[in-house]
Amino acid sequence: MTEPKKPLKKPRGKAQLLEGKCIACGARCQSACPVNCIEMNEAGEPVIDQGKCIGCVKCVKVCPAQAIDMYFTPEERAILDQLLAEGGAAAGEEEDPEAKALAAKLSAYRGVWVFIEQTEGEPAKVSWELLGKGRELADTLAVPLSAVVLGENVENLCQEAFAYGADRAYLMDAPVFRHYRTESYLKALCHLIDKYKPEIILMGATGLGRDLAGAVATVVATGLTADCTGLSIDDKRNLMQTRPAFGGNIMATIMCDKYRPQMATVRPHVMPMAEKQPGRGGEIIRESCPIREEDILVKVLEIISDRKKDHIDVAGAEFIVSGGRGMMGKENFAMLQELADELGGVVGASRSAVDAGWMPQERQVGQTGKTVRPKIYIACGISGAIQHLVGMQDSDVVIAINRDKEAPIFEVATYGIVGDLFQIVPAITKRIRELKAGRK
């Protein structure tokens, strides 16, 4: 009763470019195509040779702009209809052994880690911010949250990490870790990753954190996503890492779904600080140090503090009054200083004000400057280029003062005033003074 009939193969469709969706990301689709049926045109958009397309869907998956989709040719439609008429049983998807092997490899990695950054024993606050986010990710994945503490005489940081939400701390405490040096910290962290296999590692996007993260990811040969502003878990336990791209002009969600650990850095003040629970306990896992001082070729000769007596920390301020191109000149920043003084805050600046030499670089807020998260951010004469917005949009309250009612800054403002800042700013300062006088 057997019928030697060759079953009809289910057609896979052809890839096509959707009009107006391509962002010329850099020929990802072309690189992904296994049969070389994609050529790039002058505008950096793909031209797909549908005769050669085998319907593998690789270009569709890799396109960040959803600019490619699949369609069926009339011939393919006919086969589909025929299959459907025959009961459609032939369309069963076969189990992919490659996917199975990958899943097994990935499942060997479990747990969320946060690297606790410290300088001379002083922890960087971003580490505690990351423990807050790490707690959330660990709870979603139902795995422990661990802190990685490297340094000399830093056991107290483990206790602090527990108070900020860690369940466990991996501690490597030795003189060789007294000063941060890429080589010793790199070896230590890679040793821990090899041994304990975490699925996610979060680090601060600080000078130290970026120095270490880039080196670790290369040795471990895994993906690293810088400056994430959003982190969450998808339905397959993968980390979805969202960050500004193209200089902050758009947001991109980055995946690292075939490699472990998934590594991400986050800038200070981007994530809210975790709530401290003093006395909350955890388990310390002490690791002996496999690194000898004489193997490290770099010596830190001196650390010079740059915290001047009158050091102004824009990133940590609760109230910021910022000026942009609309300030017209350096001398006018005194007006902002007056308002900032009344509020107990500091003066910040946009990139154009810094480029014009009106304010020093360390006051710059935005993509190339500092990320801030104050209670009140007052933007005076700042049009709100996206590069600026990504640095201050998480402020609790944003107040925009600008002549141009079309300025993009009004789109992120909680309150906006359209008008002449040279009249409005002094009026606000005066009103606050009146308020203070009235309460005395």
Partner: protein
Amino acid sequence: MQVISCIKQVPDTTQVQIDPVTNTLIRDNIPFIINPYDGHALEESLRLKDRYRFKAVALSMGPPNAEATLRKALCQGVDEAILLSDRAFGGADTLATSNVLATAIRRLHKQEEVAIVFCGKQTIDGDTAQVGPGVAVRLGFTQLTLVDRIEELDITRHRIRVRRKLEGRYEIVEAHLPVMITVVRELNRPRYPTVPMRMAAAGSKVQVWDNSVLGLDPGSIGLKGSPTWVSRIFSPQREKGKILGNGLEEPRGAAKQLIEKLVAKDIIGTRY
């Protein structure tokens, strides 16, 4: 001995705009520039060339049109400019990029000893600061990031002392050559290619190396060699706020309204 600067041609991201209707990038007429930090890396390699007679080589991975940026590097005075370009390199993340750059540097190192590789501290389009450390690790060079001053370079003893600029502090660090250094803007001021300099470079050509030169495993470069990939791109969603009063005609009234809102919401006032 030679010094190498890794440079990248980037779109001038300060001039990118978003189409408000389609929410896509408006890419027309965006000028390409050398990544500003890489300009300082290039300049430092030229200063060492001037001072120690090192050979200066500029290296860039990118599409064929990145040749323009390397041409400028030749005009500024590098001895050789090499473009690493192949469609197999396309779609690379930082891990795959550092593989291509490190392989090219290793190839140069075989011809003549490489003392220092300079990179910008980060690019303005990707902003990752990951390629420099990736190159250092792959080459086994000591990594010195965020350098704002070279304090001393002792060629005979193979030692270098630099100052690193970190948050709120500087570090003076000593290391053995060879090193990979990423530079910040304060390090130097890039030179302007004058007409005589351009004329001197007129005969020089940008070399192009594709993967037939580097011979890398296709699985370790480009999109296939990249652990990370972009699953979605979108425009940031923002909530529009409230415009208060008529600030143009009644600035005081608008200021008063603002303070009332802030006091009502307990944002200011309670502390006084």
